[in-house]
Amino acid sequence: MVLKKVGRVEEATEVSSGIYLLRISCPLKEPYPGQFVMAQPPGLEEIPLSIAGYSGGELKLIVAAVGETTRALCRMDVGDRLWVRGPLGRGFSYMSRKTAVAVAGGVGIAPLIYLVDVRKREGLKTKLVAGFKSRVGGKLIQLLEDLGDVVIATEDGSIGAKGDAVSVASSMITRSSMVFACGPEPMLRKVVDLCMSVGAAVECSLERYIKCGVGICGACLIEGEEVSMRVCADGPVFDGETIVKLSDFDKLALDRSGCKVPLHGGCPSG
């Protein structure tokens, strides 16, 4: 089992409204793109976060300040310390030699930044389509453009191409593509449907409420008629063939008591 390590904040920059880039010095076992860490600011909740970068003992995270813990993380100063447990889970088939297209929705961009970066280091090209609801900050755009072949899309057309990431990416996806995706599940469903109809290979990073992170508590299960997967240990990355069998996908999730409820809904018995 991976032990917790102390990380030191080297940078916490707001790259877009409410979205922060954290650089944390913390020597880890070299993570694979798509893996995650459990991060805990002292005295607060321990939360799962996708790895957005790792190099030379420095971990990068992209965090949206949406809850108590993420806000605390984003407010951390240089030199502040936190607990980091990882890398955890199974990542993307990032060494694929097919024509790679990465499709991101919102902060789902995080693991794909690392994927594109690692592939670049390995001499492999990736087209990245980063979709947002509306205009995002210049620092975030800069960070994405530094990666290379990037198309930015906004639903309202305020910057980049107008439309959602999947529609914008659809013209790039062919039978010989390898598609990597991360974002909200309705968007991932569109990606999977598109790839299945075209015959492209696809892998998506999924999200559920993760507690133990090591595959034994059962909090993050996602299931179908004949399949039960632990997002933290069997995933968080799953291939299209598996995802189409997961009837919970884009529909149901376990709540904190272990009751299966509509995604973002409440438990009927609670």
């Binding site: 939360i47 507690k211 090591v214 595959g215 034994i216 508590c217 904190r256 272990g258 009751c259």
Partner: protein, 297 residues
Amino acid sequence: MLKVDVAGLELSPPLVLASGILGVTAKIMARVSEHLGAITTKSVGARRREGYPNPVVCPLPYGLLNAMGLPNPGIDYFEEVIREFKKLSKKPIIVSVIGSDSPEYVSSRAEEAGADAIELNVSCPHAGGLLELGMDTEQVRRIVRDLKSILSIPLFVKLSPNIQDIGKLAETCEKAGADGITAINTVRAVKIDLLSKKPLFKSIYCGLSGAAIHPIAVRCVYEIYEKVSIPIIGVGGVVNWESAVELILAGASAVGIGTALTQDIAIAKEIASGILEYMRSEGFKSVSEMIGLAHKR
């Protein structure tokens, strides 16, 4: 060769999924049950509980600390999970019942839904007042008697190592009618967070599992075997076939697996084949020949 009868439950191999590990949905239990003789559910009460906020675990070089806080959806929801499991798997399902939350009601509902046995949890070291309950011999005796008067399926009582005399309490349970003993639950512990300088877990107390507690589990099973004739499910720090066999020789009829699943969800397969190989090389023809061999009687 790996088949064993434990209080009327036929287990093959003699390996059981320990309570608190993945026993949330019917499908994951069915998936895990493939290489096990039986599965035990997460502890269930009459009421829904969310458990504690994260962090709920802390891995250590020699084991795992946890303070999940008995999250469960309540028996009204969970009885459907039991029913669904019975459709998916032929393996026995032992329903773990929280000793402090209407155990009679929960157990009878579980039996109606198809549970093959009940495991009474009076030993969680960090939630539900269960450790205190498990130290109160009179209370345990009363609950066991009450449950036995309404149940027709076997009743196991899961005991804590954090008590004065585990053998004596096991004897009390046997006299009150228990059909088996499960031992041990996690060892009560506290973790101090070096950054916050406070206990890491909201509950302050947590439970230690994994390799570190195996010798304690062996001691407890050994002491219980000296005092009772009902079967024992030995749980605690089983990470390989060697640690499983040790518990059997100490007196366990079957062995629980929990924390080791962090290494591999199918680790039971490997442990079962190791036990089989040991039996062949030592000339054992059945698991029952090995149970309690470490004792002089």
